[in-house]
Amino acid sequence: LKFSTPALYIFLLSLTLGGCAFTQANLNVGYDEAKAAKGPLSEIPSRQLTIGEFKDVRPERDKIGYKRNGYGMKTADILTQKPVPEIVREAVTAELSKNGHATASKAPELVLAGEITTFWFDTQINFWSVEFMGTVAMDLNVTDGKTGAPLLARKYQGHFNEKSLGGLDATWERVMNAALALMIEEMSTDTKLLEVLRKVEKPNDT
């Protein structure tokens, strides 16, 4: 096969514009409530909880990543359909309610809130493949529902990467959903969090 100059230009152009590089991506990222698993959290008696605010403290809060062309240049933003704090708060709520805990209690025994430190999608272009990387991390703070005293501060992180020959929005969504699920899995199997939930005194305990 003999390539002529116009063909080469078209090829380079197709690589540059590949995947609509200049249009924003709007990913439907979220924790699949149906997949929320019953785990060690369900072995603890049902607790009255309030899921408080999850502040977005990421350095860049208006996006979750950049589309880049083959030369590494940023060409468009990658966004989520729902705000990131809402995605994380819903994921935490889903996991706890699936495991039998009340998550919107008016007289909570514990309040769970936190800060989102990372929610980022990135790609790394290798010679023959592309690596898609999603990282989600939060600082979770557990406080006493009555006194507001801090009881626990923990960091959780989920990272997922997938090497493949290529992929667009659906792949990116899958990578971010997997990273989010891994972070929630780390939270729900954390022995320190389980210990705090187990120890909590009922409001009418003396």
Partner: protein, 236 residues
């Protein structure tokens, strides 16, 4: 091809081929991960755990920010030169950090954390830690063989917006049931550490590097044990 302008007809074949290549690249096979399922794991009482090797220590810094620009501008030779240059810069960094990690064993750290987490749980599983994968006869003594193949570990850029490095460990996990050779767990995972630190800080502070690597690898071992203790997959 009658719809194409005259000067495009001459390149139409090449055009189609060249357009198809990047398009078809998106059709590559996707590895189907298998997560351990509660019913499958419950039936296993004796598991052989194998962590065959320490894996390769690497630093992914210059290679992590590589683009296809050299290939586009200078072809395959340009790409090969750029790739070699980036790799050599990363190897320099690896060589600078290696002395700090001389006696560090990912295998031992990972295996300790995994078995410790498993023993601390209420799960009653008889776990035998093996140095090498069991042969067919030996495998029959166990309900399943769990292999953690540590591929790489070290430091990498967490993303292209970040200039600080993060410790990581990348491993492939397989759990095969001895009775039917069914893969009950087949996943590829990468675990990152919690902290981000510059290369120069790691270079100057060996104990910190060592501790952060240890924390990351041990955390990966504990999280893998949690996947056995609290399985989240679907039954096979």
């Amino acid at each position: 091809m009658g719809l194409l302008p005259r000067n495009f007809r001459s390149v139409s074949t090449e055009f189609i081929v060249l357009l198809l290549v990047p398009t078809l690249l998106s059709c590559g096979p996707v590895h189907q991960a298998v997560q351990p399922a509660a019913d499958d794991i419950r039936s296993l009482t004796r598991i052989a755990v194998v962590v065959p090797k320490d894996g390769e220590f690497i630093v992914l810094f210059d290679r992590a920010t590589a683009t296809v620009a050299p290939a586009a501008l200078f072809g395959l030779v340009g790409a090969a030169i750029a790739s070699g240059y980036n790799a050599s810069r990363d190897i320099e960094k690896m060589n600078a950090l290696s002395p700090h990690l001389a006696t560090f064993s990912t295998r031992a750290t990972f295996a300790d954390a995994f078995t410790h987490a498993l023993k601390a749980s209420s799960r009653k599983t008889d776990v035998a830690l093996l140095d090498t994968p069991p042969n067919d006869d030996e495998s029959k003594k166990f309900d399943a063989v769990l292999t953690f193949d540590i591929e790489t570990w070290g430091l990498r850029l967490p993303n292209q917006n970040e200039e600080r490095l993060v410790p990581f460990i990348e491993l492939k996990t397989t759990l095969r049931r001895s009775s039917d050779n069914q893969a009950l767990w087949d996943m590829h995972d990468t675990f990152l550490g919690q902290k981000r630190t510059s290369f120069s800080e790691y270079q100057e502070n060996g104990p910190m590097l060592r501790q952060e690597m240890k924390d990351t690898v041990a955390s990966a071992g504990s999280r893998m044990a949690m996947k056995i203790i609290y399985p989240r997959g679907n039954t096979h």
